[in-house]
Symmetry: C2
Subunit: 494 residues, 2 copies
C-alpha cells in the first residue's frame, strides 16, 4: 500500500502509537504523507490533529513534519525536536513528559485513553506473520498489542541481520497478576526474538527503503573531556575503596557528547568485560564492544552515526552476540535497574546548590526535551551521576544555581554532580554540606562568589530565625538569577 | 546488663543503628541512659555526639532525649520529633532525608560509612540465639548484620504472640548478585520468622518491660472526612471504568488523621477482601482486618493506639493469620510495589498548580519530617494520590501554591491531588491542563482567585514571548506567597 493510502486510515482525533526511539526505528513514509494530508485539510479549513505517542524522540520526518503542519494535539512521552519544542513552548501543542518506564503501563492501565492506531516500522515480516523488529523497540510491543488498527512500515534498509537481536518480553501483565521480570544480567534473554501482531488488525503494510537518520558523531569538546576525566577518577576511587568491582556494574549512559566522552575514556582505561544496561546504544558503546572493554550491552535503541552504523553492519555477527534490544518497559524497568545495580550517568540543564536537578526546563518555563529515562535510572541506580558544563551560553548562564527553576530529580535521587570544574560526591551529606561541595567543586569560578554570597546570606537569614537552617534559601532571590537572565541575557548583574 | 552499662559501650563519634519505626519497636532504656551519659560528658566540657540511624521516626525517649542533650551529630533517614526538628532547623544537627527503601542498601554499599553499633529492641530470644522481633522491623536486619557490636533490648512488654508474624528476607545481596524479590502478593512469605545475630557481636543484653508509646488516635476532622469521601468516590469511579478491580489493589496509606479517615471510609463501604502493602499499620487498618474489609496486610511497623493495641493483643491469633511484618527494604521495595500495583495515599505539605509536591519543607527552608517512604510508593504505585487540607494555620497558608517551595515528588510522579475542596485527576494532562483542574478542584475558595490571577499573568508573560507556555511562571512571584507568609504571617496581602 502507498504511504498516502495508509495515512488516509488515520483520522482526526486519533491517538497514534508510533515506533521510534532516538531517531532509530521510526516510521519514515506515513508520517510525512500524513503531514501532507493534514496540511491539505488545514487549507480546506478543517482541523486535523492527532495524539502522537512514541518510544522517545524521533526524527524530523516524524516529529518535525507533523509539528510543522500543526498536526499534533498532544505529544508524549519525550521529544527533542526543534519544531515540537517551539510549538509546545508557544502553547500550540500539549506535551506530557512521562518517565519512559511508565508509558507502556499507563496505556495498559487505561490512564491515557484508547490507542486507535499503531504505526510501527519493522525490518521484516516472517512467513508466519511474526515481525522482525527494527533498530529500536521502544513501546512497539504495547502499541501492537493495544491498538485497534495496525499500520506497518517494512523498511528494507534495515539489515535483516538484526533478526535475533531483540528480546521481547511477553510476560508483562497487569497487577495483581504481575510476576518478577527475570533479568539477572544485561545478557539474560527473557522473551521472544520477534514482535507479534494480530493479523486481523493490520490495515496497511507500507514498504520503504530509507535508512535511519543517524545522529552525527561530533568529537567531544574540552568540557566533556574534563567531565569524563572526573567521572573516571571517581570510578577508580570507588574501586580502590572496594565500593565497586573492577568490572564495575552495568553502565547506563544518556545521549550526547559528554556521554560519548565518558565511554571513550572508559575505553582507553584498563577496563575489560564491562556491561551496559541502558536505553540508547551510541557510537561510544559500539567502540567499547569492539575493543572488548564492553562484553555485553542491553538497550532499547541503537543510535549510531553513519560511520557507527557501517561498522555495526559490517560486523553484525560479532555484535549480535553482544547486543540485546529490549522493549523500553524492560530496558527502563525500576525492578531490573535496581537489581542489576546500574551506574547511571545523565546530562542535565542545571543543578542547585543542594543537589536538586532540572533535566527538562529552561528558565523554569520552557521545555527542552523531557525527563526521558533519567528518572527510571537515577532513582534505582547503584550510583546516580548527573553532569553538565558549569555554564551555558558563553558563560551567561550558570548551570549551578541557588534554586533549580524546575525539579525533575530531587535531592533524594542525586548522588554525584559533575561539571568540567570538578565532581561533588553528595553521598552521606546533609543539605548545607552538599551546597559547600557543589559550590566549591562544580560551580564555574565566575559564579562561585555569587553562589557563596547567596548561601552566606541565606544562612544568616536562617540564623536570625526568619527561615530554616536545614535548607537555607532567600525566597526573594532564589529564582532571581533566572529572572535576570530572561531580562538582561545574563544571570549576574553586569 | 543495665541500660547504663550498655550505654557505656557507645562512644562519641559512633554511628548507631537503632530499631524503631513510628514509635514502635524502638529501644526504650539505652537511649535515655545514653542521653544522661552525654549530658554528664557535656557538663565536663566533653563533646559527645553520635550518628543515629533508624528505620524511621521513633519516640521522645529516643529522638527527643538524645536531641535534647545535643547528642545527635547526624540523623537519618526520617524523624518527626519536635526537638530534633528544632535542632535541625537551627543548624545544630545534620539530617539526611533518604527514601526509606534506599537506607539499607546505602549502608551495604558502604555509602554512609561504618556502622559501629546496632541497638535493637526485640520481643524475645530463642534458645538457639535467634531473635523474636518486636512491633516493627525497619532496618533491624541490616543493623544486626553490619554493626561491629550489638546491643539488644529484650522487652517483655511485647507480646510473645508476635512470634511468627515477621517475614525477614535473608536473600538480599549486593549487585551483581541480586535476585528477584519473590513477593507476588501481600501475604507471600519469602523469609525467616526470626532475626539472626552473630552471638560473638552481642556486647550487651538489656531487659526491659516498657510498652511502645503508642500514638493517640484522634477521630478524623471534617477536612479529613471530606478528603476521604473524594478518594472513595474516585476509587468507585475507577472501578466503574474498569480501571480497578472490585477488590482494588493493595493499599498503602501514610500515617495520620486523613489516612485513618480514608481507611474508615473504605471500611464503611461495600468492600471485601482488600489487601494492604504498606509501611505502617494503623488503627484504621486493624479495624478493616477485624471487619473483613481487609483480608491481609503487609507492613514494617504496627503503629496502633493503646486501644488498637489492646484489640490486637486480645485477638492476636486472628491477626497473626492476617498480618506480616517485613524489613523496610522489602515493605518499601520499588520492585515489589510496582509488581503489586499499589494504590498509594500520602499526606503532603503543599502542591503547586502543576502537581509538584512538597512533603518535607515548610516555606522551602524548614524541615518538617522527611520524605519517608512516600517516594518509594508514589513513583512505583499503580495510582499515586497526595492529600492535604487546602489551607493550614487557619487559612493563612494555602497548601496549593504557584510554585512548590521544595519538591519531593515531581509532576512525573503525582497522579491525583486531593483536598477537602475536591480531587484533581492529573493523569493524561499536560501542565496547563493540570493547573486548571488543581486550581478549580483543590484550592480553597479564598485562594482560588489569586492562583488564577497568577496563572493568567504567567500565561500572558509567556504569550508575550518572555517565558515558555509549557509551564508558565512568573519567576519574580513564584515564591512570593511563601515569602509574604514569612514576613506577614499570611500568604496573601491583607
Ligand atoms: C539535559 C539535556 C538537555 C542536556 O543535553 P546536552 O546535549 O548535554 O546539553 P547541551 O549542553 O548541549 O545543551 C543543550 C542546550 O541547552 C542549553 N542549556 C544548557 N544548560 C542550560 C541552562 N542551565 N539553562 C538554559 N539553557 C541551557 C545549551 O546552551 C544548549 O542550547 P542550544 O541548543 O541553543 O545550543 C539532555 O541531557 C536531556 O534532554 N536530558 C533529559 C533526558 C535524559 O536525561 N535522558 C537520559 C537517558 S537518554
Ligand atoms: C506532609 C506531612 C507532614 C503531613 O502530615 P499531617 O499530619 O497530615 O499534616 P497536618 O495537616 O497535621 O500538618 C502538620 C503541620 O504542618 C503544618 N502545615 C501543613 N501544611 C503546611 C504548609 N503548606 N505550610 C506550612 N505548614 C503547613 C500544619 O499547620 C501542622 O502544623 P502544626 O503541627 O504546627 O499544627 C506528613 O504526611 C509527612 O511527614 N509526610 C512525609 C512522609 C510520608 O509521606 N510518609 C509516607 C509513608 S508513612
Amino acid at each position: 500500500m502507498s504511504a498516502e493510502q495508509a495515512a488516509a486510515l488515520i483520522q482526526h482525533g486519533d491517538h497514534v502509537g508510533m515506533s521510534g526511539f532516538t531517531s532509530s526505528g521510526y516510521p519514515k513514509a506515513v508520517p510525512p504523507a500524513l503531514a501532507r494530508r493534514i496540511e491539505a485539510a488545514n487549507q480546506h479549513g478543517n482541523v486535523f490533529r492527532i495524539g502522537v505517542w512514541t518510544g522517545a524522540s524521533t526524527a524530523p520526518e516524524l516529529d518535525g513534519a507533523l509539528a510543522k503542519v500543526g498536526g499534533i494535539e498532544l505529544r508524549l512521552p519525550y521529544q527533542s525536536d526543534p519544531t515540537c519544542r517551539t510549538r509546545i513552548n508557544a502553547g500550540e501543542m500539549e506535551y506530557i513528559d512521562i518517565h519512559l518506564s511508565h508509558v507502556s503501563q499507563f496505556v495498559w492501565f487505561g490512564f491515557l485513553g484508547k490507542l486507535n492506531v499503531a504505526l510501527v516500522e519493522v525490518a521484516g515480516v516472517l512467513e508466519d506473520g511474526r515481525l522482525i523488529a527494527a533498530s529500536s523497540l521502544g513501546n512497539n510491543k504495547t502499541w501492537l498489542d493495544l491498538a485497534d488498527k495496525v499500520i506497518l512500515e517494512v523498511n528494507s534498509a534495515h539489515a535483516l541481520g538484526l533478526e535475533g537481536m531483540h528480546d521481547i518480553y511477553y510476560g508483562t501483565a497487569l497487577p495483581p497478576n504481575r510476576r518478577p521480570i527475570p533479568v539477572l544480567h544485561p545478557s539474560t534473554r527473557i522473551g521472544d526474538a520477534y514482535l507479534h501482531v494480530d493479523p486481523a488488525k493490520v490495515v496497511a503494510i507500507v514498504e520503504t527503503n530509507i535508512p535511519d537518520r543517524n545522529p552525527k558523531f561530533t568529537p567531544p569538546d574540552a568540557a566533556s573531556e574534563r567531565i569524563a576525566e572526573h567521572i573516571l577518577d571517581f570510578l577508580e576511587h570507588e574501586i580502590t575503596r572496594g565500593r565497586l568491582p573492577r568490572e564495575l556494574l552495568p553502565i547506563q549512559s544518556g545521549v550526547g557528547n559528554t556521554a560519548n566522552a565518558v565511554l571513550s575514556g572508559l575505553d582507553k582505561g584498563k577496563y575489560k568485560g564491562l556491561t551496559a544496561y541502558t536505553e540508547v546504544l551510541q557510537d561510544g558503546m559500539l567502540e567499547m564492544l569492539k575493543s572488548g572493554t564492553l562484553a555485553f550491552a542491553s538497550s532499547t535503541a541503537l543510535s549510531l552515526s553513519d560511520e557507527g552504523m557501517r561498522e555495526f553492519l559490517d560486523n553484525i555477527d560479532y555484535y549480535r552476540e553482544r547486543i540485546l534490544l529490549r522493549p523500553q518497559e524492560i530496558s527502563n524497568h525500576p525492578e531490573v535497574i535496581r537489581r542489576l545495580g546500574v551506574i547511571s550517568m545523565n546530562g542535565m540543564i542545571e543543578a542547585d546548590m543542594y543537589g536538586n536537578v532540572n533535566s527538562t526546563h529552561l528558565m523554569g518555563t520552557r521545555i527542552m526535551n523531557g525527563i526521558g529515562g533519567s528518572g527510571d535510572f537515577a532513582r534505582n541506580a547503584y550510583l546516580s551521576i548527573f553532569m553538565t558544563a558549569s555554564t551555558a551560553k558563553n558563560g551567561a548562564i550558570s548551570c549551578i544555581v541557588p534554586m533549580a527553576s524546575h525539579v525533575d530529580h530531587t535531592e533524594h535521587d542525586v548522588q554525584v554532580v559533575v561539571t568540567e570544574q570538578g565532581l561533588a560526591d553528595l553521598r552521606g551529606l546533609a543539605p548545607r554540606q552538599r551546597s559547600k561541595v557543589i559550590i566549591e567543586r562544580c560551580a564555574h569560578p565566575s559564579y562561585r562568589a555569587a553562589l557563596q554570597d547567596y548561601e552566606d546570606r541565606a544562612q544568616a537569614l536562617a540564623r536570625s530565625g526568619r527561615a530554616g537552617l536545614h535548607t537555607p534559601h532567600l525566597l526573594r532571590e532564589a529564582l532571581s538569577w533566572h529572572e535576570r537572565y530572561e531580562e538582561t541575557g545574563h544571570m549576574l548583574p553586569q
